[in-house]
């Protein structure tokens, strides 16, 4: 007979053993009591927590039917992929011999997935910025819809409407629709930001259509639209004027159109071969041209404030009176477009080719592009003809431009569909002609690579054994121009090499880099500007519980190539020399630790020292030397409750030139305190804070601010984010206030 305590102990031991053994099975798929598609149902469980498992004893049962022969089973896991399961309720039973026994769970299979799927997000945001006496209110509405049908058709919208939309500016509203057929064809209509290549078109917004076809190794893309829409401009600033005299000696107002933007039409195409995974070679072109008809010469409601000038006055007009063109009648004449003094309408053609190679499973990446552009900076008057060229310099000999024979040249007027060629073309001669002929004085290759409207770049990136090495070379000529890529920096040649080492399982990273930049592109450059930057640093992340340490050092030398003072007519000198060295050092330590509560502390020290390497400056020279020291300490604390606070202190001390022969210092102290607290089961995240700043030295100022807000999850798919801030600022004894308020409401479906 077994005593009751022993029976109880055995029962408890059995129960604990069973629990421990049972917890060793971790159900991975499908989730218990989940509803899933009946296609390709994966039954999977992890067995790594099961002790002394005999994998041969594992059986997988579905609705009582043994499907083990379709399963993969080993000592770590079991998985079984079943292609088609009838809709309805199902039970899985994972049977393991021994104490584990049976693990059962249920799921429901539903029919085929819907052929139509859609989702979307609607977001309304409002902001109000009142800074000193200026107030800016902006309202925005964003609607993003996404859908698919039949697994081959995709649809996506990108709609943004803002109160900043105005006929006086380029569009701020966005209307975009994208249709996709599998991964083969994509059609974008409306606004989009296409990237054709680095030099031709690289992310600038256009409005039009964009067709992208990709089938195997064949890729074709074509887009057409407008870069800029026509803007007629503010009616009060649409004209400037001079007072002129006509053939009869009568004074009149000569109106010059201003404040306008031409509609700029663009078309671009890319033909590329290769899937891009390993190889792709592309040919690109981009053509942009201003529409000269898009800006109205006559704006009858434009306002002209009449004022006589030094050349005289117009009879019958009163000084300071506002007239429209209709009211001026014959007392005003509007200049033809070709005579407008503002920016002329442009024409631009860019062609390029690029190549990309990925080798050794993308561990080696090679890519590059070469591009050439031609830009006409004023197409009023249209193209030159051969006859125009013949008489451009002299008309003494037919078919000759100076000594250059024109008889074999095509007529430029026949090519105006592609590019309008006239005297405003840049470059007029794309290559140094001294490189040609028997008496050439310039090497042809030098002439090609220093063409002013040529741009090229090449890059090699390797990633072997935790070593990420990148080498780049690039040059953009001073006259290279792509109207569809206006942010490209011109007249720059640069090469760089950077290396990043990862050591000790990414716990220590070393960085080393060098970059050289200059403008020594044209053979005619007298003073070559150079900039050399050396950087090195390390990042140590020893592991959990230990502080991370980061260090960066950067040294930059700048030299504008000018070595001598320039003597001016009044016998004084001008010192345009620039030769400086800047040393930048940054040290940062981060540490998380537990001391009553959980804390994260961070300390940063930054030092910037810029030194002028010329010592023979005059006493009135504006010294470019400067020194800056920044120290920052921040502490984020998470309390046992959901409360979180942050404290941030920063000091900044600078010493720099304040004018010819004068120097000054400026010190700043800023302090911030912030708090966050989630409420109502994290449905609301409330935050607030105080901030203070004090500056002394060249400018004495201080400000105190208070901010607060909340993020409220009103419903599962509906959220509100509202933030506000008030600052009171004192500068040189004058007090001004700033109020910033932001709110947005977002609904997802």
């Amino acid at each position: 007979m077994i005593h009751r305590p022993i029976k109880a102990f055995i029962a408890a031991f059995s129960l604990i053993s069973a629990i421990l053994a049972q917890t060793g099975v971790l159900i991975m798929s499908p989730e218990p009591n989940s509803a899933i598609s009946g296609d390709n149902v994966l039954i999977a469980a992890s067995l790594i927590g099961v002790n002394n498992l005999n994998a041969n004893s594992v059986r997988v049962m579905l609705d009582g039917v043994d499907v083990t022969d379709q399963a993969y089973v080993d000592s770590d896991m079991v998985s079984c992929l079943l292609e088609d399961i009838d809709p309805g309720h199902h039970e899985i039973d994972l049977v393991i011999d021994g104490p584990v026994g049976s693990t059962k769970w249920n799921f429901s299979a539903i029919g085929k997935e819907s052929i139509l799927n859609y989702s979307g997000r609607i977001r309304s945001s409002n902001s109000m910025d009142q800074i000193d006496d200026q107030t800016l209110n902006i309202n925005k509405m964003t609607i993003d819809l996404k859908g698919s049908a039949y697994e081959w058709l995709d649809l996506k919208t990108n709609l943004k409407m803002t109160s900043q939309e105005s006929d006086l500016y380029q569009p701020r509203n966005v209307y975009g629709l994208t249709l996709g057929i599998k991964d083969i064809l994509t059609l974008r209509m409306g606004d989009s930001n296409p990237r054709i290549s680095n030099y031709t078109m690289n992310g600038k917004r256009i409005r039009g259509m964009d067709l992208d076809l990709s089938y195997g190794w064949f890729n074709f893309r074509f887009l057409k639209g407008e870069i800029n829409r026509a803007v007629q401009g503010d009616l009060s600033k649409a004209y400037s004027f001079d007072i002129d005299t006509d053939d009869l000696g009568e004074k009149y107002i000569s109106l010059d159109r201003s404040g306008y933007t031409y509609r700029q039409n663009v078309s671009s195409a890319r033909l590329a071969f290769g899937r891009g995974e390993i190889f792709q070679w592309g040919l690109n072109y981009m053509k942009a041209r201003d529409d000269t008809n898009s800006v109205d010469q006559l704006l009858l409601d434009a306002e002209i404030i009449y004022e006589p000038d030094a050349t005289g006055s117009v009879e019958g007009l009163e000084t300071g009176t506002v007239y429209t063109i209709s009211e001026l009648g014959t007392k005003a004449q509007v200049l033809d477009g070709s005579d407008w003094s503002g920016n002329g309408p442009k024409d631009n053609l860019v062609i390029s080719t690029d190549l990309g190679l990925n080798l050794f499973s993308k561990r080696l990446r090679l890519d590059g592009e070469v591009a050439f552009s031609m830009t006409n900076n004023n197409i009023w008057g249209g193209p030159l003809t051969l006859a125009d060229l013949d008489t451009l310099i002299d008309d003494s000999v037919d078919n000759k431009l100076s000594s250059f024979d024109l008889s074999d040249l095509p007529d430029p007027a026949d090519w105006d569909k592609y590019l309008i060629i006239n005297s405003n073309l840049s470059p007029l001669v794309p290559i140094d002609i001294n490189a040609f002929g028997d008496s050439s004085t310039v090497d042809l290759m030098d002439a090609i690579f220093s063409m002013p409207s040529l741009a090229y770049r090449g890059r090699a990136i390797t990633n072997f054994y935790g070593n990420y090495l990148a080498i780049e070379y690039g040059q953009t000529g001073p006259e290279f121009n792509s109207l569809a890529n206006p942010y490209l920096v011109k007249n720059k040649r640069e090469w760089s090499i950077t290396d990043k080492f990862k050591l000790f399982q990414n716990r220590l990273m070393l960085n080393l880099g060098y970059k050289h930049q200059d403008d020594d592109i044209l053979t005619s450059v007298d003073n070559v500007k150079t900039q050399n930057t050396l950087s090195l640093g390390f990042n140590a992340v020893p592991g959990p519980g230990l502080p991370t340490l980061n260090f960066t050092y950067r040294s930059m030398d700048r030299n504008n190539g000018i070595t001598d003072l320039v003597e001016l007519p009044d016998m004084t000198t001008s010192d345009n020399r620039e030769k400086t060295q800047t040393n930048n050092l940054m040290l940062n330590v981060n540490h998380r630790f537990d001391l009553v509560w959980n804390h994260s502390i961070s300390g940063t020290f930054v030092s910037v020292e810029k030194e002028d390497l010329f010592s023979d400056r005059s006493t009135n020279f504006v010294d470019p030397s400067m020194t800056t020291r920044v120290m920052n300490v921040s502490l984020i604390t998470r309390y046992g409750s959901p409360l979180q606070t942050s404290i941030n202190l920063t000091t900044n001390s600078s010493e720099l030139s304040t004018g010819p022969g004068a120097r000054g210092t400026q010190d700043f102290l800023t302090a911030n305190f912030g708090v966050k607290y989630p409420l109502f089961d994290n449905r609301i995240l409330a935050n607030g804070g105080l901030n203070y700043a004090n500056g002394s030295g060249m400018v004495d100022m201080s400000w105190f601010g208070v901010k607060g807000g909340l993020r409220w999850k009103i419903m599962e798919d509906l959220g509100l984010n509202a933030q506000g801030e008030f600052r009171s600022k004192q500068t040189a004894g004058v007090s001004k206030n700033t109020i910033i308020a932001r709110a947005n409401l977002e609904y997802s479906f």
Partner: protein, 223 residues
């Protein structure tokens, strides 16, 4: 189905040589794996086991969800992505990390109980303790880390600068060395729709028999 079994059998030799750390629970489109010790890529099927240092790559239309075997931490790779799954088995626990070469990855990382889940890219390193986040990485333009839930510490490998990223924030880390944190916008999660991570519920389920021989089932659900 046959292809699934054949594939698993073919690589069982290699797989048996190393402990498994995860399983592919869903694949779509072009998804391939290079198992550690092999040089050629194979199509990755749902249910396939994955071991330390296996390399996974998705094509333009590819998608794969993988789940770690110890705590059901889920990693989802979207199209045109390449990563190496790293996992060091310590008993029934796995020290996890990902080495992302490029692409879009979303992760639902369960609390790691004193350990960290490290995610490294050519530009950044993120230390994750338990969170839901989306990562977009490109060696030439840098990374973005968007926190949907929890907390992560991101370090820019170039400058060594670190920052904490919280729920509703996105950190942008670039090869030029900048590291900035801003409020998450809808654009930050553009392209991650397919990876929408649902909260995973874990459960313990066991049966006990009472004195009368009746079976009772106890179910404990937890996250």
């Amino acid at each position: 189905m046959i292809r699934f079994i054949v594939t698993l059998i073919m690589y069982s030799t290699f797989l048996l040589a190393s402990s498994k750390v995860a399983i592919a629970i869903k694949t779509k489109g072009d998804v391939s794996v290079i198992y550690k010790g092999l040089s050629s890529a194979q199509a990755l099927q749902p249910g396939s086991p994955l071991s330390d240092q296996d390399k996974i790559k998705t094509g333009k239309n590819g998608f794969v969800a993988i789940m770690y075997l110890d705590d059901k931490t889920v990693v989802k790779m979207l199209g045109n992505s390449d990563l190496t799954i790293l996992g060091d088995r310590s008993g029934s626990k796995i020290n996890k990390s990902l080495d992302i070469k490029y692409g879009r990855v979303a992760a639902n990382v369960k609390p790691q109980k004193g350990k960290e889940f490290r995610i490294s890219t050519p530009t950044s390193v993120a230390s994750v303790k338990g969170t839901e986040l989306a990562i977009e990485s490109d060696p030439s333009t840098g990374d973005s880390f968007t926190l949907i839930e929890g907390l992560v510490e991101v370090t820019n490998s170039i400058t060594g600068e670190s920052t904490e990223v919280q729920e509703g924030e996105t950190a942008t880390s670039t090869p030029e060395g900048s590291l900035e944190v801003a409020q998450t916008t809808s654009e930050d999660l553009e392209g991650f729709e397919e990876a929408s991570i649902e909260p995973q519920t874990q459960e313990l389920r066991f049966e006990i028999e009472d004195a009368d021989g009746n079976l009772k089932e106890i179910l404990i659900k937890f996250q």
